[in-house]
């Protein structure tokens, strides 16, 4: 075993968090710098992983294996495949930009940044786990910091409700998934939580059909599947900017990633059996979220519901269970993560300066913060699936994939393209263009250089992936091929 790059990457933020919490209490600036340093290290390490992942070999790489509770088949077992790498890069980007745009937090900053770091550890850990127990461990690690960050730094009106709702839903989700996980643990021929071994366990069709819904639904609740989506908008809106970015950008991906990694890949026959049901629910997600986003009067709720809609497309891609659909779903996870992080960061920037999120009382922001306007428009174009941006290369394969299995789903969900365009354009027009309302100060401070770096970095990724999808596609393709073997071999 060489250099434990995954472990280092996962625990750098954790250590940074402890340092901030106990070491730099009285020095808010230093706390922020420690957090920033840690997030930069993580980001660079994810890039290093991206660069050094061997496509020829494919499969799970950078494996680390230390027996933990060998009698129970539990091990500290890390490893990532192509899709995992994409998710790690996404996490690196969102954590880094999340720290950057939170620079002006002055209410108990050390705790804020410490929890942010713990959250990063949790997410990175889930994406790297190859042990089911470890995966749950990392997943639950996030519960505390998430809840605290929402109720302490969240939006005063709804933080208690939103924080509680989110925590309960995610908790219920992971409990349901845990039931399924224990069930297949006991059904497996040998007592192990090793995901790579469980892939080959050859569960009987009955077991697969029975327990697939538990695992899939449990995790998909974290991804905002209908009708368990309502935590997402409320939670996102209640949360402070950086947490909204992480929640919608990364945590929702954690949910669907786990649903794919555990439910679909361990129980492929179960997935085939239930695929139509998932398609139905996911299609509702897509249309329903888009419709609701269209009539929201709160800037942040628009984005919150748009996430519900876009995550539906990921689930549709999964449920099509073919190369195109899975490929598109993988790209969409990345693309949507970046896009929604950008959206929430900009919502935060606008709110910090205007102290309102009411669309009706905003307007003309392009004059005050042109960078934010351009960033939001780029995000909007990604959201609408405009060619040349990552959203198009993600959504096109999803539609192609689902057209093969269920043309009706393709038709209905494609209608969301129009609705999405409608709410994005309406929001852009009302918030950024037109006249600046009289009660807003036309000389309000513009956005900082850190904000600009965040906007620029996230936009850059969406454009580069949109124009050169070949940069990311082979990575995801290697995972897709593996999944297809599991599906075909079932």
């Amino acid at each position: 075993m060489g250099f434990p790059i995954l472990s280092v990457m996962i625990f750098v933020p954790f250590i940074a968090g402890l340092v901030i919490l106990f070491g730099t209490r009285q020095k808010p600036e230093l706390s922020k710098q420690v957090a920033l340093a840690a997030s930069i290290i993580v980001l660079l390490m994810t890039f290093a992983l991206w660069a050094s992942y061997s496509l020829d070999q494919a499969g799970y790489q950078f494996i680390e294996y230390i027996p933990w509770l060998p009698d129970l088949g539990i091990a500290y077992h890390l490893g990532v495949d192509g899709l995992g790498i994409a998710m790690l890069v996404l996490t690196g980007l969102v954590v880094f930009t999340g720290v950057m745009v939170s620079w002006n937090i002055n209410n108990r900053p050390h705790e804020f940044f410490a929890y942010l770091m713990f959250l990063a550890t949790s997410v990175l850990g889930v994406f790297s786990s190859q042990d089911l127990f470890l995966l749950f461990f990392f997943l639950e690690l996030a519960v505390f910091p998430k809840y605290l960050m929402i109720v302490i730094w969240g939006s005063p009106q709804t933080r208690k409700y939103g924080g509680m709702k989110l925590t309960l839903f995610l908790f219920i989700g992971s409990v349901i998934a845990l039931v399924g996980a224990l069930a297949i643990y006991f059904a497996a021929p040998e007592r192990t939580f090793n995901l790579i071994l469980l892939e080959q366990a050859g569960f009987s069709p009955d077991v697969q059909r029975l327990w697939f819904p538990f695992l899939f639904l449990g995790f998909a609740i974290l991804g905002g599947i209908f009708p368990f989506h309502s935590w997402a908008p409320d939670g996102h809106v209640a949360a402070p900017t950086a947490i909204s970015m992480l929640l919608a950008g990364v945590e929702m991906k954690v949910g669907v990633f786990a649903a794919l990694r555990v439910a679909i890949m361990l129980l492929p026959q179960g997935a085939q059996y239930w695929a139509n049901w998932i398609l139905v629910l996911a299609t509702i997600n897509v249309i329903y979220g888009a419709f609701i986003a269209m009539i929201q009067k709160d800037f942040k709720y628009v984005i919150g519901f748009s996430s519900v809609s876009h995550m539906g497309l990921v689930l549709i891609g999964f449920a099509s269970l073919n190369a195109d659909g899975l490929m598109g779903a993988g790209l969409q996870m990345f693309s949507h993560g970046i896009m929604t992080a950008l959206f929430f960061s900009i919502v935060g920037m606008v709110y910090d300066r205007t102290h309102t999120r009411e669309i009706a009382s905003l307007g003309g922001m392009v004059k005050v913060m042109p960078w934010a306007a351009v960033g939001f428009i780029i995000g909007g174009l990604v959201s609408m699936g405009m060619p040349g941006f990552s959203g198009f290369v993600a959504e096109l394969p999803i539609y192609l994939g689902v057209w093969r299995v269920a043309p009706l789903v393709a038709i209905i969900s494609a209608l969301s393209i129009v609705i999405t365009a409608a709410y994005i354009l309406l929001t852009v027009r009302r918030v950024f263009f037109g006249e600046l309302p009289e009660n807003l100060d036309p000389n309000m401070p513009g956005i900082s250089i850190k904000d600009k770096i965040s906007i620029g970095l996230l936009s850059l990724f969406m454009i580069v992936i949109g124009i050169f999808p070949g940069l990311m596609v082979p990575l995801i393709e290697s995972s897709v091929n593996h999944i297809l073997t599991l599906l075909g071999g079932a």
Binding site: E140, S230, Y288, D324, G434
Partner: protein, 724 residues
């Protein structure tokens, strides 16, 4: 350089110009417009090279020029993108390159380059004009430069890039990419004066309406790709796949796959080329600056839509033989095309805004092309696309020049009149002679003035295609539409140029600069001559003097399949002559000498109908009532208030309440009476324990976390010890 490489390069210069302007030169107006024009000029040059290669003896008539690269890996194969030059691409390149370049040059003058900055001009607003002190010491109110001058050139460069991408593509995917980027550019440019509410609304309407068409087109693309595994023209239009698509039934209404895909693709065109019922966005698109209108109406957007159906004619017509029954998509095109042609011509008759008349005439002329394709007159449709692009670009730029001259007059006299209302004009031919002559050329071409104008030859060919194919209804409808076209065109020309000036502003109008009149002259040249390449061999007198080059060149695309005009009849010819001349004469007689700025003579002759026409048959109002309001209701009341907040959240809140209620019951009925009483005995013990535990309750979140972590670990261990 070989021709393949040149074709690849055609779209790039405007894209580079766009990037450079946005990143570097956006503070310098001169550099920005120079870059844009150089970009468009290079594309023009490359297009001409490719065009002349294509029409040369060993050109593309026999075999198209095709070149591919890999772009998006899909499973075991690559989604390829590439370029292709065949006869259709060649003629598209010809008119796109010319019109785009002319529009770029024109924009310099239109946006008042060289004029002073207006004191009250703001980005996002139309320039208000500036006050300057002339040589005689008097203060004058003159036109002022556009505040976002550089940005305008960046956007139209991107627009041009998208159109070139669409034209040179050899596959539906990159065509779709160009198509969507154009949609975006149209949004940006129609809403260019974004501080104007009507412009913002129009931009959004254009984008959303065309998007509806795009969704169906995307589905067509998806079905084509899933069936054939390719999106390249050479594959999907091959005999083998066409046969497959016609012989297999799709799940929708028992149509063949070819018919279904054809319909889906055609809906894309309905959106982009503004056919009924998705035509509502195009007239509103007039809110943008006039060069943008020319761009959208002639060179790019709407032409792209018609180009798409011409390109996909093999699929749309799969299974059709000349003289046989029409395929479903062809039937749809014939019906929608001819209906749109007549329908919007009637609206154009009652418009007062100089640009709106042209907007409805565009919709109508596009209807002609779509209908022509529907009855199998492939070459005629392509021919009219080319001639229309020239004369419509000319007319739009001409109307921009007229408005400019009028604005000059308005600023000069300080009179508050609408510079776009034709009833405020009159007698402009003396003031603006070049604009007049060129506009007249364009107007006559639009009306189909016999023999000399391009519009006559292409429109005649459409009419004869419909008549000789035996589609008498289509023929009659189109003939009436052509009569109305000639009428409203002459109405416009007479109102604008003839008679006496009806306002002070019109009396002080002024000819525009050379940057505007030069493009007008070039386009006027093509509006006349472009028709001469397609004079039918059988035309009495003139036929055969010039070879019917267009027919043999573009006709080569069809590989001789179902393309020959068997019998010739003089009915369509006489009809074209009669409707063109009759309409022109009528228009001239009614409108040659209007004095009143308020009432249109047609208002009293048509009565209530005039009001319906002027209000565009109330279609916008109908859509508002039938679609937009219900959609809002659905989202707001049904989905959000009822479903999300009431049913779903209500359910979960109910569960939460139930939990609390249960807890309460346990407490009130079990805990307090049973446990508590029994527990009183140990209460004191508990109190002591509580005091001991107090040290853990420091009130610090970190300590709680540490504690919870410890409990979680201990709990997990205990859990597993018990389990096993």
């Amino acid at each position: 350089m070989n021709n393949e490489l040149i074709t690849w390069l055609i779209p790039l210069p405007p894209l580079i110009a766009f990037g450079l302007i946005v990143l570097f030169t956006n503070r310098s107006n001169r550099l920005s417009h120079s870059l844009a024009i150089i970009g468009a000029g290079l594309s023009w040059l490359l297009s001409m090279v490719v065009f002349f290669f294509a029409i040369s003896a060993n050109g593309v008539k026999e075999k198209a020029l095709i070149s591919n690269v890999n772009w998006l890996p899909t499973g075991d194969s690559w989604l390829k993108i590439g370029v292709q030059v065949d006869a259709l691409t060649a003629i598209m390149l010809f008119f796109v390159a010319w019109t785009v370049l002319m529009i770029f040059i024109y924009s310099v003058g239109y946006h008042n380059f060289g004029q002073p900055k207006g004191e009250h001009d703001l980005p996002g607003k139309q320039p208000h004009g500036a006050f300057v002190t002339g040589t005689d010491g008097k203060e004058k109110h003159v036109l002022s430069i556009e505040p976002m001058y550089a940005r305008f050139f960046a956007f139209i460069s991107l627009f041009a890039f998208a159109m070139f991408v669409l034209v040179v593509s050899n596959n539906l995917l990159t065509l779709y990419i160009g198509w969507e980027i154009m949609g975006l550019c149209s949004y940006l440019l129609i809403g260019f004066w974004y501080a104007k509410p009507s412009a913002k609304a129009a931009a959004q309407k254009a984008f959303l309406t065309t998007r509806i068409g795009d969704v169906f087109m995307l589905l067509g693309l998806a079905s084509l790709y899933t069936l054939t595994g390719s999106l390249q023209y050479e594959v999907i239009f091959s005999e083998q796949w066409l046969h497959f698509l016609t012989s297999h039934t799709s799940p929708v209404f028992g149509m063949s796959w070819a018919a279904l895909i054809g319909i889906l693709i055609f809906i894309g065109t309905v959106g982009k080329s503004s056919q009924f019922p998705l035509h509502v966005w195009l007239p509103d698109a007039m809110e943008g600056p006039t060069p943008v209108s020319a761009m959208i109406h002639a060179a790019t957007m709407v032409s792209a839509g018609v180009y798409l159906v011409i390109r996909f004619f093999p699929i749309l017509s799969a299974g059709y033989e000349a003289g046989g029954p029409l395929t479903t998509p062809m039937m749809a095109m014939a019906v929608i095309g001819s209906f749109t042609a007549l329908f919007s011509a009637t609206i154009a008759v009652a418009q007062r805004d100089v640009k709106r008349v042209l907007a409805y005439s565009t919709i109508s002329q596009l209807g002609f092309m779509v209908a022509a394709l529907g009855v199998g007159a492939y070459v005629a449709a392509a021919f009219h696309l080319v001639t229309h692009a020239f004369f419509k670009a000319l007319l739009f730029l001409g109307s921009g020049s007229i408005i400019h001259g009028m604005e000059h007059g308005v600023l000069h006299t300080g009179e508050h009149v609408d510079p776009q209302d034709m009833f405020n004009m009159g007698g402009l031919w003396k003031k603006m002679p070049i604009t007049f002559i060129t506009f007249l050329a364009g107007g006559l071409a639009l009306s189909g003035f016999p023999l000399i104008t391009a519009g006559f030859w292409s429109k005649d060919e459409i009419l004869s295609g419909a008549f000789n194919g035996g589609f008498i209804v289509v023929f009659v409808v189109l003939a009436i539409a052509a009569l109305l076209t000639a009428f409203y065109t002459m109405r416009q020309i007479s109102l604008v140029f003839f008679g006496k000036p009806r306002t002070m502003a019109a009396a002080h109008a002024h000819e525009t600069k050379w940057t505007m009149t030069l493009p007008l002259s070039v386009l006027a040249f093509f509006s006349i001559t472009a028709g001469w390449v397609g004079i039918p061999e059988a035309f009495p007198g003139l036929g055969g003097i010039l070879p019917n080059w267009f027919d043999s060149f573009v006709g080569s695309m069809l590989h001789a399949e179902g393309h020959e005009t068997v019998h010739h009849s003089s009915v369509p010819l006489i009809t074209s002559l009669a409707v063109a001349l009759g309409g022109l004469l009528l228009g001239y007689l009614v409108y040659k000498n209007i004095k009143d700025t308020q009432t249109d003579p047609m208002e009293w002759s048509l009565g209530g109908i005039y009001k319906v026409l002027a209000n565009k048959y109330y279609i916008d109002e109908f859509y508002q009532w039938a679609f937009i309001k219900p959609a809002k209701w659905l989202s707001e009341t049904f989905v959000y208030r009822w479903m999300d907040l009431f049913v779903i959240d209500g359910f979960f809140h109910g569960i939460a309440k139930l939990g609390l209620g249960l807890g309460n019951i346990f407490r009130q009925w079990f805990d307090l009476p049973v446990i508590n009483r029994g527990g009183d005995a140990i209460a004191s013990g508990t109190r002591r324990l509580g005091a001991d535990l107090k040290i853990f309750q420091s009130g610090r979140v970190q300590d709680y976390m540490l504690l919870s972590l410890a409990f979680a670990v201990v709990g997990a261990v205990v859990f597993f010890v018990i389990l096993f």
